[in-house]
């Protein structure tokens, strides 16, 4: 777990004082992919770089697993935190495998063990070692370089990975692919990931939690559904976009909106997994057809029925999101939902 406690950072540049980060408090849970999003210059990068001490806070405190980062050995701290930057930041004079194995090398691993680890990670990020391990970065496409960057960050198996717009410099199709792959990789390795982006679609796709920043301040922090359904300020509404009603359906899960199972009489009816989004559930129900019951059950990962959702409420949610009032769908019934 990472905590930022009233953290500020000011830069002096050319006689001007820039308040890059302004009193940000944030908790980043273990195993979460926490997105920092905001317009350019809003302080995302600076916030992230204070975690591995590439910047030093002007005020406030940052802890990793309860330990103040300023009290830790800076080299050790950084070796325990993976770091991925835009365009990969690969070392151009080293091969792909040597790049991936760099932190293990700094940590003193034996050569053959480093090589093994590099090959394993290249496989994980979809670059067959036999084909890529001994190439140089310049021989790789932008997307492939980014994958190597991710593999390198994971090489020493750090509990935390920081990623600063890692997919910012690749074409949209490759970006989509990398995003999907990151989700797959994250499901496999389950790291605490701090992910900086200015792409709202990317934030919603990847984030378990999203922290929205503007002018160095934290505007809102919450789940994607929180930001869509309960925007803290008009800025959040504006930033999350025109199609936020539809997005809300995409990023709100059944588990979040279902009534608690105990509050309704047990009936037959379909059971849908709670992690489905409302949009996915709509598609699934349409495929299954009529059941004669007035709603459906929502189950947890273990298959237990934990919630119930009536078709009437389900349809209302769909209708509100898609209708002309869609932009405020969340607010209209936000309080009524036990999410």
């Amino acid at each position: 777990m990472i905590t930022l406690d009233h953290v500020s950072k000011t830069f002096e540049s050319k006689g001007r004082t820039v308040r890059a980060v302004d009193d940000v408090s944030l908790t980043i849970g273990a195993g979460q992919l926490h997105v920092l999003i905001g317009p350019s210059g809003s302080g995302k990068t600076t916030t992230m770089r204070m975690i591995n001490r590439l910047e030093t806070p002007t005020a406030g405190r940052i802890t990793v697993d309860g330990r103040d980062v300023l009290a830790m050995d800076v080299v050790e701290l950084r070796r325990s935190i993976g770091y991925v930057i835009q365009q990969g930041g690969l070392l151009p004079h080293l091969t792909v495998a040597e790049n991936v194995a760099m932190v293990p090398r700094l940590l003193g691993w034996q050569r053959h063990r480093r090589r093994e680890r590099a090959e394993e990670l290249l496989g994980l990020v979809g670059l067959p070692a036999g084909q890529f391990a001994d190439r140089y970065p310049r021989e790789l496409s932008g997307g492939q370089q980014q994958r190597v960057g991710v593999a390198r960050a994971l090489a020493a198996d750090p509990p935390i990975v920081l990623m600063d717009e890692p997919f910012g410099a690749v074409d949209p199709i490759t970006r989509k692919q990398l995003q999907r792959e990151l989700r797959r990789v994250q499901a496999a390795v389950n790291k605490t990931i701090v992910f900086v982006t200015h792409d709202i679609g990317e934030a919603f796709l990847l984030g378990d939690q999203i922290a929205l920043m503007a002018d160095g301040r934290l505007v809102q922090n919450g789940t994607p559904a929180d930001l869509l359904r309960r925007p803290a300020t008009p800025f959040v509404t504006a930033f999350t976009g025109e199609d936020r009603g539809l997005r809300a359906l995409e990023y709100t899960t059944l588990a979040e909106v279902a009534d608690a199972a105990g509050s309704v009489p047990a009936t037959d009816g379909d059971t849908l997994p709670g992690e489905l989004s409302i949009l996915e559930a709509g598609r699934e129900l349409a495929r299954r057809g009529e059941t004669g019951v007035d709603g459906f059950w929502v189950s947890d990962r273990g298959g237990r029925k934990t919630g119930y959702l009536s078709y009437r409420r389900f349809a209302a949610m769909l209708g509100e999101a898609l209708g002309p009032a869609g932009a405020t769908a969340g607010e209209a019934d936000g309080d009524a939902l036990p999410a």
């Binding site: 365009q87 990969g88 690969l90 070392l91 151009p92 004079h93």
Partner: protein, 212 residues
Amino acid sequence: MRFLRENPDEVLLRFGEHVQLVAVTVALGILIGVPLGILVTKVRWLQRPVLLATGVLYTVPSLALFAVLIPYTGIGRGTAVVALVVYSLLVIVRNTVAGIEGVAPLTLDAARGMGMTGGQRLRLVELPLALPVILAGVRLATVATIGTATIAAAIGAGGLGRIIFDGMDRLDSDRIAAGAVPAAALALLADWSLGRLGRAFWHGGESASGGE
């Protein structure tokens, strides 16, 4: 070519002396210039004075520099080497600085973020990436030294310059050519081989500046 035909041993001897003079000069130039270049990229306030000093020394005519040194180091090889090293410093220091400072900030940032210490950054990132630029400096310094070293014969340092000066004394153009042609050939050979060596360490156009 009459002189060369009649005195192959003399030409060979002077050629050997010349190569030795150049080799010692360039070796010392690297040994002093590269660390000095590294130092001034880390201790920034030293950079301007050091580059200025090497630049000023570079502009002193070689005969004048010999004259200044002779009271301290006497006549002979020692003085010649000191002077030639002083000339080689400018380009070696300057290229070392340019090579290290040419490493892309992004690459250095990644290196810091990975948890490299300052020494590891220098050894694993900055020097390898600066190497082609440093080698280009060494190449220039070598070629220039091969030329300047002929003048060092004037203070008794031997080398191909001896044959050239003798030729000038006797107004013997054949003798002059017997010294000058091997010197030129040596310069071309050094230029070509060091150029090849430099390319072997080149990691693509973008990587010279650290990669973007």
